[in-house]
């Protein structure tokens, strides 16, 4: 669920807040102020720093609270970073910086207030006896709100008022539910699906019937069982996340077989970057339980499938949390026997468990996410998706998907079926206005409001502010991008309200790497020129033609903040990300591109000075200051005639980017740095290698 990343984040953040480490550990410091643009202090502000040097850790960013009077200080290894300042009701603001060992930088932020969307965020009062770790939210057909809590309780709240009662207790971490009636709910708890029934009419469950329990559990704190949803045919769906692996000896009491070894062993240097592993049966799988009670292992390849949702068309979608093999948060259409990227769950597949996969074969097997949710702007760990079936009670987004996040954010997703497969656009929807963190489960109520269940437990500080919030539309039409749909030569954008003029749109495209490192940076990022933009006569549709529209990329559409509606309003969220897996013609592989040339041209020639610093920070330990390598590691001697530097630039760039298996007697593989170092840095370091160690001119 909420991934283990947050714990590590917390620890690193603590370390970041402490004094500088001993001189032997390279470190730089960045500090400064975070205030509102008018100079006022901001409550609840945070800074988040992310960059390649952190991407190799289980966590790839550090989040720190801004402390009174609006100050922060971060100690991090030398490197290049993006530093974000965020606060409820303020726009996220980012700066980029490069820190050298021992360097101290100051970066101050002046945050601009967010425009307030026409949605109210209300907090439901909870009974005194209810610990507000709300892990599941549902409504009965009669409108009674039912919630699960991580303390193993089920509470109900009367449809006609604020009266709560405890329907059940004693469960093992209920994590979601389907509320069949006021006397019957089905709960997913760690070890099983259970139907809870009140058979004597006293409002309290007295029968707990096990519906399915056919998956492994180990007792790892981080092996959550996610769900629960039911489709129109009565099938239930849930999913099992991977356990946090330290060593096999931790697992003494395992239900079912134990397989602690990785399906695809980590071959890079250092520890395994992501400790999540499918050690017990069907961890990383989604299950279906039929009305007859048969449990079917349904789909596989998940890491932490936090959110499950069934669309109005009875199709299953699951959100997953970034880490190894999941480059950023994803939202994916799931069907029986589909594979979703993380190979460790393959060890439980009856036919594939003994097959040796290459990364290319994994890619071929993997169903791509319907929508990627770029980290930061679109959250970190997404929750449960729900479809707006309120018939307009929640605003102008009928049929679209709303999803909470462990950060205080709700995102909106618009799906379209292109050449037979779902893909679409994610938009920020709501943050600020008192929206709390930990919103992992949600449901639309009979009043048309979105009810968000929130729990964090130890991942981040909440000051006790967990429970249930109600998001209600005020009735005013929000000024928003309504949809972004794929068109023949670009995208067709629709707005919720008429625009004054065609907004300027900056389009970029990039993709992510599905690899064993913990998440992925954007790769192959490039601006995509807009060749034509035409606003419809009614001001609500914008036709955008691009220089080219290739599959296999995420397209970022950033609308100019100066864009105004005809009634003079700015767009609330002028950004969208479209995941283009398939073109309208059904193509899934990119063809020849003009932008590739442009992208390459955008890179500067390698810079020796910058490359020296990259080498010092990243390469020196194995390759040594003199470039002669280390015998115990097996790194080559760059200075030898006929050595590695006799290879072409393209070959060497490929090795640095993609890594290389060890050449005997070497034992340590060259790790892939493409995830860790920006392409320019790789060029820089190659320039440094050539300038410093090159024994002879490279071949032409």
């Amino acid at each position: 669920m909420i991934a283990a990343r947050f714990f590590t984040t917390f620890l690193i953040a603590l370390a970041g807040a402490a004094k500088l480490p001993a001189a032997s550990a390279p470190v730089g410091r960045v500090s400064g102020a975070v205030r509102a643009a008018d100079g006022a202090e901001i409550a609840g502000a945070q800074v988040r720093i992310e960059g390649p040097t952190l991407a190799r850790l289980e966590n790839s960013n550090i989040i720190q609270k801004v402390r009174p009077p609006g100050r922060y200080q971060l100690n991090v290894p030398p490197g290049s970073y993006e530093l974000w300042a965020t606060a409820p009701d303020f726009e996220d603001t980012k700066v980029t910086l490069t820190l050298a060992d021992g360097e101290t930088l100051t970066r101050d932020f002046a945050l601009q207030p967010l425009a307030r969307p026409p949605y109210r965020v209300e907090t439901l009062a909870l009974p005194r006896a209810m610990v507000g770790e709300v892990s599941g939210v549902a409504f009965t057909p009669r409108g009674t709100l039912a919630v699960t809590t991580r303390r193993g309780e089920v509470w109900m709240r009367a449809a006609d008022g604020p009266r709560w009662w405890r329907f059940a207790a004693g469960l093992y971490e209920g994590f979601g539910l389907v509320a069949e009636s006021e006397s019957s709910v089905v709960v997913i708890q760690r070890p099983e699906f259970t139907r809870l029934r009140d058979t004597d009419g006293d409002g309290v469950a007295d029968r707990f019937d096990t519906l399915a329990d056919g998956w492994g559990i180990t007792g790892s704190y981080h092996e959550f069982t996610y769900g629960l949803v039911r489709d129109g045919r009565g099938n239930f769906y849930a999913a099992s996340g991977m356990a946090q692996f330290r060593n096999a000896g931790d697992f003494r009491w395992v239900r079912g077989p134990l397989k602690p070894d990785q399906f695809m062993p980590w071959t890079g240097s250092g520890p395994v970057p992501d400790g999540h592993r499918s050690v017990a049966q069907y961890q990383g799988w989604a299950f279906q339980v039929t009305p007859a009670g048969q449990q079917i292992p349904f789909a596989f390849g998940f890491r932490q499938p936090l959110g499950l949702g069934v669309s109005p068309d009875d199709e299953l979608f699951i959100s997953d949390c970034p880490g190894a093999w999941v480059p950023t948060a994803t939202f994916t259409h799931v069907e029986r026997d589909t594979f979703h990227g993380h190979p460790d769950g393959l060890k439980w597949h009856p036919e594939l468990k003994d097959k040796k996969f290459t990364p290319a074969e994994l890619t071929a097997l993997r169903r791509p996410p319907s929508v990627y949710l770029p980290r930061g702007t679109l959250g970190t760990s997404p929750g449960q998706p729900v479809w707006d079936t309120t018939g307009g009670k929640f605003g102008p987004f009928a049929g679209q998907v709303f999803m909470g996040d462990v950060s205080s954010l709700i995102v909106r997703i618009d799906l379209e079926k292109v050449a037979g497969a779902w893909q679409g656009t994610v938009f920020p929807f709501l943050r600020g206005q008192g929206l709390r963190i930990g919103g992992m489960h949600n449901a639309f109520g009979p009043d048309g409001a979105l009810y968000l269940g929130q729990t964090v437990r130890g991942w981040m500080s909440t000051e006790g502010n967990e429970g249930v919030q109600r998001i209600a539309w005020t009735g005013e039409t929000p000024a928003e991008l309504h949809t972004v749909r794929l068109a023949e030569r670009g995208f067709a954008l629709r707005f919720t309200t008429a625009m004054q003029a065609a907004p300027e749109v900056a389009v970029r495209r990039f993709r992510y790497l599905h690899h064993p490192l913990d998440g992925s940076l954007r790769t192959e990022e490039v601006a995509v020129p807009v060749t034509r933009a035409a606003l419809s006569a009614d001001g609500r549709a914008l036709s955008l033609e691009l220089l080219e529209t290739q599959p296999g990329y995420v397209y970022e559409l950033a609308l100019a903040k100066s864009a105004r509606t005809r009634d003079g309003r700015a767009l609330l969220n002028p950004i969208a990300f479209y995941t283009l897996n398939r073109t309208l013609a059904g193509e899934t592989q990119p063809g020849p591109t003009q932008l590739k040339v442009a992208a390459a041209a955008a890179l500067q020639p390698g810079d020796v000075t910058r490359g020296a610093e990259v080498y010092r920070l990243n390469c020196l330990v194995c390759h040594q200051a003199d470039g002669k390598g280390a015998k115990q590691v097996g790194t080559p001697d760059y200075t030898l005639a006929g050595g590695p530097l006799t290879k072409s630039d393209a070959e060497l760039l490929a090795v640095i980017t993609d890594g290389k298996a060890p050449t005997p007697p070497g034992v340590v593989p060259m790790p892939p740095w493409g995830n860790v170092l920006p392409a320019q840095s790789i060029r820089d370091v190659l320039a440094y290698l050539r300038a410093t160690f090159q024994p002879a001119p490279p071949p032409r």
Binding site: L126, A129, G170, T194, I217, W253, R457
Partner: protein, 403 residues
């Protein structure tokens, strides 16, 4: 336990448990709350208890209720209190303060098992008040108080927290119990002003007096909680009967992993941190088993298809449902009032083959069976027709007490 105290304890306990004899309760403390408390206890406990105010009532009381504490005392009065506190009788302490125990400053460490501190959360009212499963909370769905409370820290190892308050992310113990040779003790922190008139408080107080006096709490039922227990598969059941014992039932292994001499399981290790830890039990196990799938069909050496199908909660205790090679087996657990005997009553549907049970030797418990054919460590239910059988687990002797 010194012989004198043991004899005194036995005498008091015998008297208290004699059929129909009222529990004698002494209320001690400052005059005004004592008067109110006496009225509350009389109303709540009559006719099962007689309530008397004043220090001298301690001489004959089974249970003392101290509001704050006894206050300033002469040496002779200190002797009365010390005698009471060491005699194996019950104490219910309400909002202990150092000033009220100034004559016996050792009270906090030796009796209460906690150190008093300043105001919790600056006196802010609780956002959440968690009632952890315990017979003292019988009949109480929610405990509410706006009263500022003192913070108590460094709870003794054997202090079992049963009520906890939360303000923000800070928690404070609001009530705990101790079971020691020197007598049972309950401490309820919020007990001032309007709290005394709170129906939930009155019920908790009355139940606390009963529990401290080793009397059954009317309406108390077994608490059933699935969690991660020590030496058990995750998702095992902690079942604690009001008078004991505690039972760890492991639905993966298919049996009772251990039974302990106690009435409480502390789930906070599992709940209060992100990583969590197995729940903590209070008391010593007197029964253990570990054989894989001790209940089988057909033959004892043949592993059966084994399914856990759920459970039901009844006033007598939980009833678990197993399917063994498709044959429905229902296992109801109940306990004697003193917690010394755990009864496993099995209802068996008709099936294709006999059932077999493995009964592991128990150094600290006696195993008796009814309706089974026993042969050493094995017992069989040979009939393929529906039927019943019972296994009784009787503690041989009380496990070593907490210090």
């Amino acid at each position: 336990m010194p012989l004198r105290r043991l004899l005194l304890f036995l005498a008091v306990a015998h008297r208290a448990l004699a059929a129909g004899e009222p529990l004698q309760v002494a209320v001690v403390g400052r005059a005004e709350p004592v008067t109110a408390l006496r009225a509350v206890l009389t109303a709540e406990l009559s006719p099962e208890a007689g309530v008397t105010a004043g220090l001298t009532a301690l001489r004959t009381a089974h249970v003392a209720v101290f509001h704050g504490g006894p206050g300033k005392l002469h040496d002779s009065e200190v002797a009365i209190v010390r005698e009471f506190l060491s005699a194996g009788r019950g104490s219910v302490v309400l909002g202990a303060t150092p000033g009220d125990w100034s004559a016996m400053p050792e009270f906090f460490q030796s009796q209460l098992g906690a150190e008093p501190g300043g105001r919790f959360a600056g006196g802010a009212p609780m956002r959440t008040i968690s009632l952890y499963p315990h017979p003292i909370h019988t009949g109480v769905a929610e405990f509410d108080t706006a009263q500022p409370v003192h913070r108590f820290t460094n709870l003794a190892e054997d202090a079992q927290l049963i009520m906890e308050g939360t303000v923000g992310e800070e928690t404070a113990p609001l009530a705990w119990v101790r079971r020691r040779d020197a007598g049972r003790l309950v401490h309820i922190v919020p007990a001032e002003g309007a709290t005394l008139a709170n129906p939930a408080f009155r019920r908790v107080l009355a139940n606390a007096v009963r529990w401290a006096g080793a009397r059954p709490v009317p309406g108390a039922v077994a608490a059933v909680q699935r969690t991660f227990m020590p030496e058990s598969h995750p998702g095992s059941f902690a079942i604690t009967f009001p008078g004991g014992p505690g039972v760890c039932l492991d639905p993966v292994r298919g049996g009772i992993n251990f039974v302990w001499d106690g009435d409480f399981v502390d789930l906070r290790p599992r709940w209060l941190t992100k990583q969590g830890a197995p729940a903590r039990i209070f008391g010593e196990p007197f029964y253990r088993e570990g054989a894989w799938r001790p209940l089988r069909a057909g033959a004892p050496g043949r592993e059966s298809d084994f399914q856990f199908r759920g459970y039901a909660l009844t006033p007598a205790g939980p009833e678990f449902h197993w399917q063994i090679d498709g044959r429905d087996v229902f296992e109801a657990l109940s306990a004697s009032a003193d917690g010394a005997v755990l009864t496993r009553r099995f209802r068996v549907a008709a099936g294709a083959a006999p059932l077999w049970l493995r009964l592991e030797p128990q150094p600290a418990a006696e195993i008796a069976v009814r309706g089974l054919e026993r042969d050493g460590e094995l017992a069989s239910f040979p009939s393929t027709a529906a039927g019943e059988f019972t296994i009784e687990i009787r503690r041989k002797h009380r496990a070593p007490s907490q210090p």
